[in-house]
Each structure stands twice: as structure tokens, then as C-alpha cells.
Symmetry: C2
Subunit: 143 residues, 2 copies
């Protein structure tokens, strides 16, 4: 199977596939004309990669799983190295969730305090206007 078909079946871009190959994550056999040649097993590997990526794993973190599958094991997480990644990720997640929860609490407290003070300063009058300049846009990273 050629790259376009694999990409279509796996639901990712050909660019991503070439990227994985450049990382040595998903090397491809080559046909006589130089075209990449994939098989059904590669589709499985891609499934593993995508699943882990949905969990927020980096590509390098998927490597043990992929290698494990290629080594003939029934599942990507049949190998100790994969389990180690799971454990490390769990620890990272716990740390991250805890930090975010702390931040959430602090921001929440700040908001409550600021709202109280605004109320105190302006019991019934007009709210203080300070949007004189082009105030910020938006983002949304901490995924």
C-alpha cells in the first residue's frame, strides 16, 4: 500500500507519515520506483501512535509501544519499557493536575477578591473604565 492510501485509512496526513519515518518511528519499505510501501501491520502501528497521542504522549513516548508491536508482541504495552512510559506519564499527569488545581484555586480567589473590591469601590455608580487600549486577544494552551 502506498502512502496516500495508508494516510487515508489511518486518518492522518502523508506529511505526518513522512515525519514519523524521519524520526525512525515508522520506517517504510520501498518499491522499485522509490515509492514508500506499507502493509497492514503499519496501520496497526499507526493506530497505537494515534491512541497515545490522543493521551497527550509525545512521539518519542510512543516509540517503545511501536517497537514492542514490531517485535511481535500482541500489544504495544506488552513490554516493560511501555509500562514504564505509562507510569512516568501517570506521574506527570498527577503533577500537572495538582499544579493546575492549585492555580485554579488561586485564580479563583483572586477573582473573588477583585470582584468584591470592585463592588466596594463602586456601590452603585458606573464601573471604572480602563479599556482605553486594544486589550488582549486569546489563546488556550495548557492541553
Amino acid at each position: 500500500m502506498r502512502i496516500g492510501e495508508l494516510a487515508g485509512r489511518a486518518g492522518i496526513s502523508t506529511r505526518a507519515l513522512r515525519h514519523y519515518e524521519s524520526l525512525g518511528l515508522l520506517p517504510a519499505r520501498r518499491a522499485g520506483n522509490g515509492y514508500r510501501d506499507y502493509d497492514e501491520a503499519d496501520l496497526r502501528l499507526l493506530g497505537q501512535i494515534r491512541t497515545l497521542q490522543d493521551f497527550g504522549f509525545g512521539l518519542e513516548d510512543t516509540r517503545p509501544f511501536v517497537e514492542c508491536l514490531r517485535a511481535g508482541h500482541p500489544a504495544g504495552d506488552s513490554c516493560p519499557a511501555s509500562l514504564e512510559v505509562y507510569r512516568r506519564k501517570l506521574a506527570e499527569l498527577d503533577e500537572c493536575i495538582e499544579r493546575l488545581a492549585q492555580v485554579r484555586a488561586e485564580v479563583s480567589a483572586q477573582l473573588a477578591r477583585a470582584e468584591l473590591e470592585a463592588e466596594a469601590d463602586v456601590p452603585g455608580g458606573p464601573p471604572p473604565r480602563c479599556e482605553l487600549s486594544p486589550c488582549g486577544t486569546e489563546d488556550g494552551r495548557p492541553a
Copy 2:
């Protein structure tokens, strides 16, 4: 006060200060020789910026707070635009925490299952070895 002193007192780099200026976040007066000239008020603004950054706010998100302070308000969050940022960030945090909690649960379940299966496959024998290749490094982003 020149850029080096402000950087030292605020605990950040001169490069960061120049960066903030390039964003229009912390413009600086200029001395006759072209040197940036800061005052105590700028130190306060930097304090606000750093606090928010520690919360994981992007620089653009700090802009309303900084402008609010510069407008003469007692606190950076005395202005409605700042409160809006607080609220938006809270929503983002909630969303993010929830996603991470879900992922944590799923990864945890996968780990438990994989450990069980490994145990079943190898009741007393040697564990399957598959770390034949240089398996992964590490990262730790979702901050």
C-alpha cells in the same frame, strides 16, 4: 533606572524586558544616550506580569492587568477586562483539568490491564525483553 538594574531587581533577564517592550507591553522612556530608563512603577508592572505568568497566563493575557495599573488603578485586576481574563482562564483551567483527569483515568486503566496481562503471560518466567532499541527519552509539557 537602567535595564540591567530593573532586570536584577525584578529577577528576570534584560532580554525579557526588551521582549516585553517589543510587544508594547512595557514601553520604556529613553535617556539622552538611547538607554532605556525605567522607574519604580515599571517594577510593579513587572511584578504583575510575573505573578500572572506563574499562573500560566500568556503575555497577552497580562496586558489588561498592566494597562489597568498604568491607568492609575490600585490593582491590576481593578478593571473589568482583567476580571474577564480571570474568568476565561478559570474556564480554560477547568476544561484542561477535566481532560487531564480523564486521560489519567484511561492511562491508569491501560497500565492496570497491561500489568495483569504481563503477569498472566509470565507467571514465573523471565519477563519478555523488547528494549532492543534506544527507547524514548522524556519531556513534560502540559503545564
